[in-house]
């Protein structure tokens, strides 16, 4: 297809040397993924088996959502559970019985592993099997780990989705599966675009309810909407589905390139592609150019957080005219992030992993116009005169596809405009 964006003439960042660091990491653990996953999967309950710290983390990260009778909770391990493991399994059964009696509307129960449960090697996989036997077929019990020792922030969603893949029914049907939890409104826009291209056998993972049909097999191709789905990617390939590599659908270019990869696979002709995408492309370009006015020529520094950093840097560099200084990601997965690295103009330091104090030293030395970082760092950096964009919002806010492209640019330009309005000294 010829719709793909033109790569930069300098060869992009795919082969750029990656700074790999180990040290203190300032990141969330995978449990945080529960906060948006439980909104998406309407009949699922997430039961974390962990400590008071895990419960406190979810509470702190979920903010006011905690009061809306959320479909997640923590089974807090106590002294007695640590003494003998047999005990812990019985205890877990009892807690699940209580929970399912109180919430008969629950159809999928996820037992979510945490650092403590992983360290004491509490076998949640076995527990999930046993509980499926006990409560099936009305409730399906699965398990995954959202522990900090194994997962970083958005990898929690990856672990959750990957846990669902092995139990999906087998199919030979030719179909497209779109993987990644998106807000409903965005998911519907995407389905509308694909349907306009004449691609109608489209399924989403995760589905909104357990009853929604989803199966997988050798004639399945899949596209990822989120850059943090490495394990799910692998699990789907194990089921002989084929990945369609593409840049991620952020911004006008990303969305077009993402759709183009799918269109090429399904043999969509150029006229149809243009007929479907021309109008929303123009809308998105206009919205981005307006929203990114404050960003042109400004420098940006990404601290690692969600694995969305590389595609976002690509969007900011190519569509908003920003200059990335460093693009930090917790992990880089070539099959997933390669297409975006190809498009990202050469120049920025690409880094994987973190040693937070050293990275902060680099940020302070570079004095970027905008630093994208977590909430534990944002206010301290603001107090040092650096403008920040806190990164978590990028996961919670609808940012994918054409209609959100302007909003996405707006998320980055707001802090810059605010600093101007308040008359604060711009970073020297």
């Amino acid at each position: 297809m010829t719709y793909a964006p033109t790569p930069p003439t300098d060869g992009g960042c795919r082969t750029a040397p990656v700074l790999k660091e180990r040290g203190q990491r300032e990141v969330f653990c995978g449990l945080t993924g529960i906060i948006w996953l439980h909104r998406k999967m309407q009949d699922a309950f997430f039961l974390v088996v962990g400590s008071r710290t895990c419960a406190h983390l979810l509470q702190s990260a979920a903010g006011v959502m905690i009061f809306a009778e959320p479909r997640f909770a923590t089974a807090i391990l106590e002294e007695g559970d640590l003494a003998g493991l047999k005990d812990a399994q019985d205890e877990l059964d009892a807690q699940v019985d209580r929970l399912l009696a109180r919430r008969p509307d629950i159809k999928q129960l996820f037992l979510v592993g945490s650092c403590p449960s992983e360290v004491i090697k509490l076998d949640l996989a076995k527990a999930a099997e046993r509980l499926t036997l006990a409560h099936g077929p009305s409730v399906r019990v699965l398990n995954f780990s959202g522990s900090g020792i194994e997962t970083t922030f958005t990898e929690g969603e990856d672990a959750c989705l990957a846990s669902m893949v092995p139990v999906l029914p087998e199919t030979d049907a030719r179909q497209l599966v779109v993987v990644g939890a998106l807000p409903d409104v965005v998911e519907d826009q995407m389905l509308g675009l694909l349907s306009g291209l004449g691609i109608d056998t489209v399924r989403c993972l995760p589905t909104r309810t357990a009853a929604d049909e989803l199966s997988v097999g050798p004639n399945t191709v899949f596209a990822l909407t989120q850059p943090f789905l490495g394990e799910t990617h692998a699990a789907l390939e194990r089921r002989h589905a084929r990945h369609l590599p593409a840049p991620f659908p952020y911004g006008e270019e990303g969305t077009t390139a993402w759709l183009a990869a799918i269109a090429a696979e399904f043999g969509v002709d150029a006229e149809t592609f243009a007929a479907v995408t021309d109008a929303p492309r123009a809308r998105a370009r206009a919205a981005v150019s307006q929203a990114s006015e404050a960003l042109r020529g400004k420098s940006v520094f990404f601290m690692p957080d969600s694995q969305m950093e590389i595609p976002l840097a690509r969007f900011l560099a190519r569509e908003c005219g920003m200059q990335p200084i460093e693009v930090g990601q917790p992990y880089i997965h070539d099959a997933l992030h390669g297409p975006d690295l190809d498009l990202l103009p050469a120049g920025p330091q690409i880094s994987e992993g973190q040693d937070v104090d050293k990275q902060l030293d680099r940020a302070r030395a570079a004095r970027p116009d905008l630093t994208v970082c977590g909430l534990g760092l944002a206010n301290p950096l603001e107090a040092e005169g650096l403008t920040t964009k806190w990164a978590i919002e990028l996961v919670f806010t609808p940012v994918h596809f054409y209609e959100q492209a302007g909003d996405l640019a707006g998320l980055f330009s707001r802090p810059v405009r605010r600093r101007n309005i308040l008359g604060l000294e711009a970073a020297e």
């Binding site: 990141v27 008071r52 983390l57 807090i76 106590e78 002294e79 360290v119 909430l375 944002a378």
Partner: protein, 518 residues
Amino acid sequence: MKLSVWTYEGPPHVGAMRVATGMKGLHYVLHAPQGDTYADLLFTMIERRNHRPPVSYTTFQARDLGADTAHLFKDACQDAVDRFKPEAIIVGASCTAELIQDDPAGLAETMGFDIPVIPLELPSYQRKENFGADETFFQIVRHLARPMERTARVTCNLIGPTGLGFRHRDDIEELTGLLSDLGIDVNVCAPMGATPADIARMGAAHFNVLMYPETAESAARWMERELGQPYTKVVPIGAGATRDFIAEVAEITGLPCHADDSRLRQPWYAASVDSTYLTGKRVFIFGDGTHVKAAARIARDEMGFEVAGIGCFNREMARDIRKVAKEYGVEALITDDYLEVEEAIERLQPEMILGTQMERHIGKRLGIPCAVISAPVHVQDFPARYSPQMGFEGANVIFDTWVHPLVMGLEEHLLHMFREDFEFHDDAGASHHGHQAKPRLVEGGAAPDAVASPPEFSGQMKAGDNVIWLDDAERELRKIPFFVRGKARRNTESFATERGLAEISIDTLYEAKAHFAR
């Protein structure tokens, strides 16, 4: 295992972070897995601190498990000491590191630092945040404070305020001012604002002011025993408690203590006729033990409320709260399960709740006004303006805070008088309650206005009750102002149920009213 959605307290290492973040020149090296750094944002966001908490995490990952984690810990210690050059470090483990059995204390002690290394033992699977803060402060004091000559002037230490404490910042200022009026200087305020060097000279004070028993009682007892410093037992929250506190200080110091109370407006405000409508308002009080104890006294003796129930979430204060409850003729609720608190509030039907962030939400759900008196709190309760709880200004602040959520007296009468008025009807709602949180009634008779109630409420009100309201009784119920109607309805229903009545007539309604009359 204990199923939990909401926790009133974090794990104990968060308590240690509160002490470390409150202090200066102290660094906390915490053996903890990747992800535990989430706690930083409590300080940078909720308390809006402009610097990172002085905490280094080892953030070990699965691949590090085994012998590697001990090295990680030592490296983190060395890095922290080199980079931040603290006067002392505290070292400890979070819940996961507690399981992998590296010995942070032992490891740090063998590293030969020339600064004090203070090890912490915080049992994560038994204790909680407040214990963590109390124990950490105790260990710091025990390691650093030494007996020394008293200051020439009478001085005291303020102990207990920490990072993320409910109004700790302004309580310090208020108490410092109050003590200065009494001719007493503050020697050291700790942990908030103190350096390890300051801790070392705490012994020079003549006595200690224990501001918050939850976070400093162990240290207060140790200093009483080892440094011969008595400590105050009265927490000066409320006008009466503040006067008692001054008397206690006079007794300890032998000084003639006369405080300037010219700015204390709360007693007159409570005495003024506008406050008459507050008499006998039934309040439910929940929070940490110290604030609950203080609030109960203010509620009954200084505001004229009736205390309908009290409780606390921290077991360390259970004995105290049980004693207070007995004194007030109510049952104490000692629990950290918010569902139990919600159940108690629903049962007691108070007209006001004094509680934490969580009770605020329970109040919203039940349509009961609420004021926040205790941690845990969200960002809005770390206000920019001066708003202490302690001392005379604290009493003023408390009066305002508690009265605002209530429908004001005159307003209450007007609402009652004009309740059939075309623009003052029930469905217009009470401006002070924000959104209509309260279920409303839709009965056979036409409402005075044509506005339909949301359908989800109408079914809910009738379903689930096995007592039937006769039409005339239901119409009569509607004449009761909406902000007490829910209570009247429940009272009448429980009255009918107790007597085995299947139907509620007007007579039943008024018999129930007479039965519950105070």
